[in-house]
Structures are given as structure tokens and as C-alpha cells.
């Protein structure tokens, strides 16, 4: 009897060679249509590309490697989800008020993942180089995975707390969600290269660290393992997406000097646009996490000022790219952004699909420690006033439509931000276009508006739409019904349905019953 030798598995080709075979040798020159007919969208923005082969993707990802690692990531994520469900993990949340941050996430962020999936699929068809096409294809699949895993993960909480319904309808209709929605609408209606600079570079490379990393760390700190797991799993794809963004900008800058001023304007525009949207995250981080990890200010200093302004922009100087226009205003706002945003959310949460509460004394002490005099002087007195009113049995909601007509025509945040150098003065800019007056919230948004007024005059502004009769009716209950907000989704946290459920799950009774 002879023993058959185990056949030696053929050694794979080196990574560089496998990647090159996939992203170069599978491409071909069109023979029965003109190149312009095959790729009609890459010329009208004025970007000049001389050699698509100049594109290098440092991850050198191939099809087999992509599926192998993504499958492993999903396996790990679903193991966490199972164990959380089996061990009644929802009982270990720091507090049910934490879930408000997750509501804002699923209403505002998850639908953006789906939008990103759609547009990267489009780039995977229309970019002329095979390497960027393949990178865009992987990203398109990633984004669909993110959307699905987020819905799947967060839906677990729906067994214990009842607010998960209608998030995608809300994304399209609710006033505060027009902030993230309008950003993606703006990016998707731009050309393919502007989209790459807006989403891949300005949003993903410059700002997603700031958006997602401290927030997911916060999820972990507040006992929400499933969110932390999908967050880190998604963010690990994000490191590939960031690479795509960084590669895109370097590639475009290297291809032709004429591209430089075009790219600079996109960096200027999209930094400010994405930064303005991140204001929602500032509010989530500082006010919606019962156990905070790091303040918005601290995260901004670490992930944006140190890593991007201090690290990346000196690198881009080589190509003649300067730090984004208006970046100084963002730096000057770091002490107040989250407070001003949360004041809006707190005032108007009767018209939202989450609840809010006046910061607790412990939270106030933390905010004061993080923000010092700026908080004590300008924001603490407002919260103390709310507390006094509540102690006497009241709760103030600003009964009206958010800031009425005055929503920024560009970022769509209600006009409640103050001047970057004066926290007592509302920042308010006006521009005239075709005999109409348009309002913007900052020099950044005004500059963006005046650069492309024809685009922004078409903005779907929530309050304008209500007043024009397009949102279910003129009264608050009619509008809320049209949004898909149900009774108990909104208003004050204390005594809300989430709060009641929390007490029941923890075997406690409400003060009323006690």
C-alpha cells in the first residue's frame, strides 16, 4: 500500500501581479463604439486625464481577497449580534436615552450608505480606468453591506423599544434630516470627479474619522456592542474608501496642472458642506451619550486639526493645494457647535422622531470641564433656566416651525449658529439672485451658494415646503403624520415610552406609580 502524497498547493502569484492582472489586463479598448460614447461623463467638468494607468490602489485588492475578508467581517459581526441577542445585551445599555443617538443615526446616516452604494455603482460603470472602476465596485458593495448591516443591527432594539419604524420615509421628509439628505443629493447631482472629491476625499478621508470613530467608541462605552461592531466593521471598509479618496485627489492633481484650481474649489466647497453636516454628530457626541468618551472639541482637535490640518495638508501643499477656505471658521466654532445644535434639537424635539432632555447635573459638570468658560458663560445659563422651569412642572418647546423660513439655503441647518467670533450674535448672510433674496448661515455656505446659485435655489427646504402645502397640511399634527412620526416617538425623554420601557426592563417603576 502506498500513501499518496498530499499535493502541494500551487503558490499564488505575488499580490502586485494578481492586482495588475485584474486591473489592467482585463481592460480593453472599445472597437465598435467611440470611447466618448462609452464614457460620456468624464469630460464636462474640465478635468484632464492623460493616463488612467497612473492610478494605483495601495490595497491591491482582488476579487477573491475582497470576498474572503468581507465574509470574515460579516461572520464576526453576526457572532456579536447573536451573542448580544442571546445574552439580553439590551439590558447593559448605559441608559435608554442613549438610543436617541441611534435613532438619529438610522434616520440620517444609514440612508446615506444606500445613496453611496448607488453612486459608486455608477462610477464603477463610468470611470475610464479599470483600477478605479474596480475600487468603486468594491466600495459600492461595501456601502450596500453597511446599509443592510446597520438596519439589521439596530432592528434588534425594536423588540424592546418601539421607534424603528419609517426611518427611510423620515429621511426623505423630516426637517433635520434634510441636512444629511441634501448633502448627498448635492454630491450625486455633481459630475463624477466632483463626487469623488466630495464623498471619497472630503467626506471619507477628511471627516469620517471625526464622525464615526469617537462615536463608535462611544457606543462601546455605553454598552452598545452591536453598534460598535457594525461601526468598526464598516469603518474598516472605510479605511479602503479613504485610500480611494486620497488616491483620487493625488491622481487628479498629478495628471494635469489645470486640474489643480478645479480640485481646490471642490475641496473648499466640500470641506465646508461636510463639516456643516457633521454638526449633527457634534450634538450627538456631547449631549446624547449618557457616558461620554471624548467631547466634540477634543475629537475635532485630534482627528481634524492634528491629523488632517497638521498631517495631510502639508502633504498636499506639494501639489499646490491649500487647506480648505473657511477652515479657520470651523476651528473657531469648536467650542460652541455642539451646544448650538443641541439647543435646536432640544427646542424642537416635539417635531422630531427622537426625544431630548435637559442635560443632567453630571453632564453639565462634564461639559463645563470640557469647554470651560465658553460653556459656563454662554450655554450653561440656558440649561439652568430649563431645569428651573422643569422643576416647577414645565418643559419648554418652541411651538412653531423650526426658525420658520430661515433655514440655510445650502446646508439646511436652521439659522441658529452664531458668528464664529461672537457667540452672542446669530450668523446670517443674504445673497440676491434673479431678484430674490436667499439666506445662508455662514461665510462658507454663502460662498458655496454664490458659486452655483442656479443649483441651490432649487433646494427642497422643509419649512418652505410645509408652507407651500406640500407636507400633509398646515398644522403640526398633520405634518408629523406626513413625516411618519407616531405619538411617543418625540418630545421629552423623561416619561417617554422609551423611558417607561427602560424602567420596566430594569424592574423599576415610574415615579408616578411609586
Amino acid at each position: 500500500m502506498t500513501t499518496a502524497k498530499t499535493p502541494r498547493r500551487a503558490k499564488k502569484l505575488p499580490m502586485k501581479q494578481r492586482y495588475s492582472l485584474l486591473t489592467r489586463d482585463l481592460d480593453w479598448e472599445p472597437s465598435y463604439v467611440e470611447r466618448e460614447e462609452l464614457y460620456p461623463y468624464t469630460s464636462y467638468e474640465g478635468i484632464k486625464i492623460h493616463d488612467w494607468d497612473g492610478w494605483e490602489d495601495p490595497f491591491r485588492l482582488t476579487v477573491d481577497a475582497y470576498f474572503k475578508y468581507q465574509a470574515e467581517k460579516d461572520k464576526r459581526l453576526y457572532a456579536v449580534l447573536d451573542s448580544f441577542a442571546q445574552s439580553q445585551g439590551h439590558l447593559s445599555l448605559s441608559d435608554a436615552s442613549y438610543l436617541n443617538a441611534i435613532k438619529l443615526f438610522i434616520q440620517g446616516v444609514t440612508p446615506l450608505e444606500y445613496q453611496a452604494h448607488r453612486h459608486f455603482a455608477y462610477l464603477a460603470r463610468y470611470l475610464e480606468g479599470p483600477a478605479p472602476r474596480f475600487a468603486a465596485l468594491c466600495q459600492s458593495v461595501d456601502e450596500l453591506r453597511h446599509c443592510q448591516t446597520q438596519i439589521h443591527t439596530i432592528s434588534n432594539y425594536n423588540k424592546y423599544y418601539d421607534w424603528f419604524h419609517s426611518f427611510s420615509q423620515m429621511h426623505d421628509r423630516v426637517w433635520y434630516l434634510s441636512v444629511p439628505k441634501s448633502l448627498f443629493d448635492d454630491a450625486m447631482t455633481a459630475g463624477p470627479f466632483e463626487f469623488l472629491i466630495s464623498i471619497s476625499f472630503s467626506f471619507e478621508y477628511l471627516l469620517t474619522n471625526l464622525l464615526f470613530v469617537p462615536f463608535m467608541s462611544g457606543a462601546s462605552f455605553n454598552g452598545d456592542m452591536p453598534t460598535m461592531s457594525f461601526g468598526f466593521s464598516a469603518q474598516s471598509d472605510e479605511s479602503r474608501h479613504m485610500t480611494l479618496g486620497l488616491e483620487a485627489i493625488k491622481f487628479l492633481l498629478e495628471q494635469d496642472e489645470d486640474n489643480v484650481p478645479i480640485i481646490q474649489e471642490w475641496v473648499d466647497k466640500w470641506f465646508w458642506r461636510a463639516y456643516r453636516m457633521s454638526a449633527l454628530v457634534a450634538g450627538m457626541m456631547d449631549y446624547m451619550l449618557p457616558k461620554p468618551v471624548m467631547s466634540w472639541k477634543e475629537a475635532f482637535e485630534l482627528y481634524f486639526e492634528q491629523q488632517m490640518l497638521g498631517g495631510l495638508f502639508p502633504d498636499l501643499e506639494f501639489y499646490g493645494i491649500k487647506p480648505p477656505r473657511h477652515v479657520a471658521d470651523a476651528v473657531a466654532e469648536k467650542d460652541k457647535l455642539s451646544h448650538e445644535v443641541y439647543k435646536i434639537l432640544h427646542n424642537f424635539s416635539f417635531a422630531a422622531s427622537f426625544t431630548t432632555q435637559t442635560p443632567t447635573p453630571e453632564k453639565m459638570a462634564w461639559l463645563s470641564e470640557q469647554y470651560g468658560e465658553a460653556f459656563d458663560e454662554f450655554y450653561a445659563p440656558t440649561w439652568e433656566k430649563h431645569r428651573r422651569i422643569e422643576d416647577e412642572g414645565g418643559r419648554v418647546f418652541f411651538q412653531g416651525l423650526p426658525q420658520l423660513c430661515q433655514v440655510c439655503q445650502v446646508c439646511q441647518v436652521p439659522m441658529a449658529f452664531t458668528e464664529s467670533d461672537d457667540p452672542t450674535k446669530i450668523s446670517f448672510r443674504t445673497s440676491e439672485f434673479k431678484e430674490e433674496t436667499y439666506h445662508t448661515c455662514s461665510d462658507g455656505c454663502q460662498w458655496i451658494f454664490e458659486r452655483e446659485p442656479e443649483k441651490y435655489i432649487q433646494a427642497w427646504l422643509p419649512v418652505h415646503q410645509i408652507l407651500q402645502g406640500n407636507c400633509g397640511g398646515p398644522t403640526v399634527p398633520e405634518v408629523l403624520d406626513w413625516y411618519g412620526v407616531q405619538e411617543g416617538d418625540n418630545g421629552e425623554y423623561k416619561g417617554s415610552r422609551d423611558h417607561q420601557s427602560w424602567l420596566e426592563w430594569h424592574g423599576e417603576t415610574t415615579e408616578k406609580e411609586a
Binding site: P14, Y69, S217, S236, S239, Y303, G311
Partner: protein, 93 residues
């Protein structure tokens, strides 16, 4: 001088990844590791290099550089190299 600007990598906390971080630290003596909930935040002036061999020695098993995609959460810098034996994060200019 320009290349001493810090680069960084954030790695998800897990048993395997802790060993990964030990291995990376042994090849990058200037690197610091900061602990955040769920995360290990690596930072070093100018450059972080990750070597397959050092990691295999530490893990006691074969390790492909592609597996690093399962550990990394985010980074700052630029992937200057990513091949079968080595990953390098550094600034270009």
C-alpha cells in the same frame, strides 16, 4: 523634517489584535499606543511599518498582509506600500 509629521492607525481591540499591536510596536520603537474604548490608537512620527514575519512570529501562525483589513478601523497618512510582506504608512512629501 517634513516626514516626521505623525501618521496613525486605529485598530479594533481584540486578543489577536493586541498581539498584532505588540508585533508592530517591536518594529516601530517610536510608536505610541493610546487606549480608547474598543480601540487601540497607534501613532508614530512619519512612518509605521508592519512586517508579515514579525507578526507571524508573534501569532505563531501564517498571516497574510490582507488580513490587516480585519483589524484596521481607520488611519491617517498614506499607504506607501502594501504587498505580501510589508505594509507601510507614511506621508508622501
Amino acid at each position: 523634517m517634513t516626514n516626521t509629521r505623525p501618521v496613525g492607525i486605529d485598530i479594533q481591540e481584540s486578543d489577536d489584535n493586541r498581539m498584532l499591536v505588540h508585533a508592530i510596536a517591536s518594529d516601530n520603537p517610536d510608536m505610541t499606543v493610546q487606549q480608547l474604548p474598543g480601540l487601540m490608537k497607534l501613532s508614530a512620527p512619519g512612518r509605521i511599518e508592519i512586517n508579515r514575519e514579525t507578526i507571524e512570529d508573534r501569532l505563531g501562525r501564517e498571516w497574510e498582509t490582507g488580513e490587516f483589513q480585519l483589524a484596521i478601523v481607520t488611519y491617517t497618512g498614506n499607504f506607501a506600500e502594501w504587498d505580501d510582506d510589508q505594509i507601510i504608512v507614511a506621508w508622501d512629501h
